[in-house]
Structures are given as C-alpha cells and as structure tokens.
C-alpha cells in the first residue's frame, strides 16, 4: 500500500485506521511479550497509535521503515512502565497449548516436558530488564536483524550483540541452575 503512509501523514483518518488495522497485532504482541501483561500491552497499543498520529509529521519514510519507527515507539512505551507482576509463563500455562513446531506425533509426556521447558524459559525472561527483553523479542519474535534492532532502538550494533548474548547467558543460567555458579 504505497499511498497509505502519505495519506495518514496528511491527516486522512480512514488511512490512519487502515494503518492501525495493519499493525495493531504486531504492536500489541510485541508489547505483550516485552511486558508480560495483556493489560499493559493494550494500553501501550493505544499510546503508540496516539503518538503515531500526533507525530505523524515527523515520520520520514526516506529515513527508515515504518515498522522500525513503530518498534521504537513501542519499546519506548514499554520501558516507561514499571515491570508488572504479570507473567508470560502463567499465560502459557493457561493456554495449555501444544508447542507449534511439534507437528509429528508426540507422546503426551513429551508435550508436558516441552511446555515445562517453555515455562522455565519465560519465567527466566522475567529476570531481565525491559532493555534486554526488548532485544530478545525483536530478534526472536519479530525476527529483526541486528542492524534493524540497532536502528529501532537507536543503539549501536555492538550493544545489540552484547545485550542478546547477555540475555541468552542469563536465560541459560536460570534454566540450568546447576551451572549458574560455574
């Protein structure tokens, strides 16, 4: 939709609604995974799009992708919130899902083990601050390259690398407590 940007930027509300529809899930899910709270994610989604509308004049398509800009606003909004009590791991438990990649026939106990592993991982994520959770989510959920993450968060490429590495180390230490002190 090449015209969409131009139209909402000039104040066309129908185009702005179309923009919202196109990106609401992306923003909401990103915020949800960073904050661990659906309630916070919904507030953040609101704030992000109110902010997009108010600063529509400042977005310059020549300087970067729209999604990069959206990610930046989303992450900024997430880091403004204090970490809540909500937990992704609990949501996973409520969901009671089969992990999506398990297409082959699996034994029930195998699913249970995988779900437990996921839960430990998500619980371990809670130990990270918003800065580190943000890079994890942008990389492993939104599938952004390191360069794209650097642009979205306006941080150096080296910082992206080190934050990701530190985050994975921290997760590893927390899901393998035996090795944590090593």
């Amino acid at each position: 939709m090449p015209d969409l940007t131009e139209k909402w930027q000039t104040g066309d509300t129908a185009a702005f609604e179309a923009l919202f529809r196109q990106y609401e899930k992306l923003v909401y899910r990103t915020a949800y995974l960073i904050t661990g709270s659906k309630e916070a994610a919904e507030d953040i989604l609101q704030e992000v799009f109110v902010s997009v509308w108010r600063s529509r004049h400042t977005y310059d398509a020549a300087k970067g992708k729209l999604t990069t800009w959206l990610h930046r606003i989303t992450v900024n909004q997430c880091s403004r919130r204090k970490a809540g009590k909500a937990s992704l791991a609990i949501s996973l438990e409520e969901k009671g899902i089969d992990p999506p990649e398990m297409k082959r026939q699996v034994q029930p106990e195998e699913i249970a083990i995988t779900r437990m592993e996921y839960q430990r991982l998500l619980q371990a994520m809670e130990a990270l601050d918003a800065k580190h959770r943000s890079v994890l989510v942008l990389r492993y959920f939104n599938d952004l390259s390191y360069q794209e993450i650097a642009e979205a968060l306006e941080i150096p490429l080296g910082t992206v690398k080190s934050r990701l590495n530190q985050s994975l180390k921290c997760l590893k230490a927390r899901i393998e407590p035996g090795e944590a002190s090593a």
Binding site: Y28, E42, Y146
Partner: protein, 430 residues
C-alpha cells in the same frame, strides 16, 4: 592454557551472533576453527542454540492467540477526538469551503487574509481549504457544562489553554459539546498542534464561521497574531492591523492564514521548543451578545540534533522552609518533557469518601526549567493528584523536549501556593 581460556571467553561472547548469522566472515572462520577442537564451546553453542529455538517457539506460541480487544481503536479515536475536537478530528475530512447554500439573498463573504511578517496581503488567490468544522462549537453559555472547550461570556476565555488537572477522580472526561440550537459561531485552528524543523515556514489557519441565523460581526479583522513560548515570553506579534471589522452572514466562513518563518521581531531564528500561536482577542458580536476568543495553535520547533528520549527515575528530595519536594521521575520524549514530583503539605489528610482534601490544600506548584544553563523557561502550574499520603504534581503540558546532546536539566519548583521555594534539582542526562 591461558590463551585457550581467553579464546573460549571471546568465542562465547560471539556465539549468539554466530548462531544468528550476524558475524563477519573472519569471525565465522575463527569461531569454527575454535569449535573444531573445543568441546566446551561446542556444548555452549548447543545450549545457546537450544535456548534460541525454544525461545522462538515459546514466544510465537504465546503471542499467536494474544490479540487486542476491539475497543482499543474506539479508545484511540476518543482520545484523538477529545484532543483535536476544535478542528473536528473525524468528521471534517471532506475539505472544502463552506458556502452558504442560500443564494443571492445572502451576501457570501469569504475573506482571506494572509499575514506574512508584518505584511498583510488581502485576497490571496487560492487559499488552502478550510476544514468544515463540526464539533466544539462556541456556544451561547446558557447552560454551561464545565468543559474546557466551552467558553464563558466575558472576559475573554482562552479556549485552548492547557487544562490544569485537578484530581482525576473529579474531572469528568472531556466531552465534545453537542451541537446546540444556541450555537452562534465556530472557530477552528488547524493544525492545532504540529512539529517543524528549524527554519521551516509555519502556517496556521483560523477559520471562523457563522452557524446562527443572524449576522455576526468579527473584530478586529484581521486579528493580531502573537507568538509566545510557553507560557508568557512574546517572540513575535503582527503589527497592529487597525480596527476593521467583518460582518459574517449566516453560513459564511472566513479563513485567516498566518505564516511565520520562525524569526523573532528582530529577524533572528527563534530557539527550538514549543510555541503558542494565538489569534488575539477576537471579538464576535451578535445583537447584545459579545464573545471574546483567543484561538491558539501549538507548534514544536525541533532541535536540529534531535531530542533525547529516556526516562530518569530520581526520587531525590529537597527541603526548603520545612516543605519537602521529592522529584520522582523525568520522562523525555521527542515532543516534550514530563516531570513528576511529590509533596505532603502540612496538615494534609485525605478524608475518606471525599475526592480530595480541604480546598485550601488544592495547591498547584509553579516551576521553571533549563537545559545546560540556558535561560529558564516557566512551566504552567502543575497538574495535581491527591494520594493517600500527599499530592503528586505533574508538569507535562508543552514542556520542551531535551536536546539529544544535553548534559543536564535544572528543574526548579519556585512556589507551592503561598510557600516560596525554590526546590531546585539538577539532573544529569547523559
């Protein structure tokens, strides 16, 4: 041995990037050569790889059936409508000029005035279209709902001054007034809020229309326009345009366009920050009724180097004259600074079941701020929120953003009611 340990450490720093395909070819070769004969690093690689895989699956799995509620869009719409009601956010996007459908009997007077730097050029050939304004009419105040958009008869109301937030609990949501049979005229500024780069020409349009069934007189016409930085410093004023007046017959709309090249009265570029552009003291008369309005647009001139975006948690306290203020937090965004402070006034208590303490304790605080020792800028009085043990003060309306390279901000609370400060805080930003 020592060499190998160093290698392992270095390698392990790179493993995440290696798995993500984000290393240089040289690094890749180096890592692979090392992995070939280091089982510890191979184990580490396997562990990281497994975490990455599980993390992707876990995040995807949990996100896939999380979706926002259907009300979010409505809430966004409501907020933007409330904010932009003066120019009719949702209803005015069929642009065009109002023409009094009535015909030959009615004299259709559409007058356009463009000021440019003191020059006044009448009758510009094709002015930009004026939004047809729907909500937020200025009404004859027979029944006056206490909304910020509803004007008072005289003296001059300032419909776009930022509201002072008395506690959230007692302030009803801002409602766009319903069109009323008593409506006399509509006044809209567009854009009501906009951002510009230094040197860009700023253009603000005021449209005024007569929506009643009798003629109205607008004076002075064209109105003077004043550019102020929040809240009081005057940077530019259009020269006195005399005491002309303009009669608008029912259905007529006039449009005034003010353009400003960001220069002060002496021809110097004004500093970055927020400015108010006010169409001053426009008087509208119909019969014995007279209304005075000051429609205002707000523009942000951005810093060439960009603005700093971060939140600083402080919780620092200063006590002056036995009154303690705690500066809790400073939020910096591209469009401004928001400051939160907390104070417990003497004898403060919050009676249960009441929206707030005794009205004598409804005290707003005055403050000023400066980045890197520049001239202090005054804030509007704080918004206040009553909490169990004291009052939270917020300054968030149109404080300038911080320049990206700013070293520090000094925030000085000068007064709380009759108590004199200053309670001064200097906060490092880098």
């Amino acid at each position: 041995m020592r060499k190998k340990e160093m290698d392992c450490q270095e390698i392990q720093e790179l493993l995440t990037a290696y798995l993500d395909g984000e290393v240089t070819p040289e690094e890749k070769a180096y890592i692979e050569a090392h992995l070939a004969d280091c089982s510890a690093c191979r184990a580490e690689l396997e562990a990281f790889s497994s975490i990455q895989r599980d993390l992707r699956s876990a995040l995807t799995s949990i996100a896939e059936d999380a979706a926002p509620s259907l009300q979010v869009w409505e809430k966004i719409k409501d907020r933007l409508e409330a904010k932009e009601s003066r120019r009719g956010f949702w209803s005015n996007f069929t642009f065009g000029r109002v023409t009094a459908a009535a015909t030959a009997v009615v004299v259709l007077a559409i007058a356009i005035a463009v000021w440019q730097f003191g020059g006044f050029f009448g009758g510009m050939s094709s002015p930009p279209p004026a939004p047809i304004s729907a909500p937020a009419p200025i009404e004859v105040p027979t029944t006056t709902p206490a909304t910020p958009a509803a004007p008072e008869p005289t003296p001059a109301p300032e419909p776009t001054m930022p509201e002072i937030v008395i506690p959230d609990i007692v302030v009803p949501d801002i409602e766009v007034p319903e069109p009323s049979p008593f409506k006399v005229f509509e006044a809209n500024v567009a854009p009501e809020e906009a951002y510009y780069l230094p040197g860009e020409t700023i253009k603000v349009e005021l449209s005024l229309s007569n929506v009643s069934s009798e003629p109205i007189t607008v004076e002075p016409y064209p109105a003077d326009v004043q550019v102020t930085s929040t809240p009081e410093r005057v940077w530019y004023v259009t020269p006195d345009s005399g005491s002309m007046s303009e009669v608008l017959f029912p259905g007529d709309e006039v449009s005034l366009v003010f353009t400003w090249d960001q220069q002060d009265q002496e021809g110097n570029q004004v500093p970055s920050g927020w400015y108010n552009i006010t169409f001053k003291d426009i008087s509208i008369t119909q019969g014995d009724s007279r209304y005075s309005i000051n429609p205002t647009a707000r523009v942000l001139i951005e810093y060439p180097q960009g603005a700093m975006e971060k939140t600083i948690e402080l919780n620092e306290s200063r006590t002056v004259n036995s009154i303690t203020f705690t500066l809790e937090r400073i939020e910096l965004t591209a469009t401004g600074m928001k400051v939160y402070a907390f104070n417990t006034p003497p004898d403060y208590n919050l009676p249960s079941g009441q929206p707030g303490p005794a009205p004598s304790l409804w005290l707003h605080a005055e403050a000023e701020y400066s980045f890197d020792g520049e001239v202090f800028k005054q804030t509007f009085p704080s918004g206040i929120r009553f909490l169990e043990n004291g009052v939270q003060h917020t300054w968030g309306e149109y404080l300038d953003p911080a320049p990206k390279n700013a070293e520090e901000v000094t925030f000085r609370i000068t007064k709380l009611g009759d108590w004199e400060g200053p309670w001064e805080f200097t906060v490092a930003l880098q």
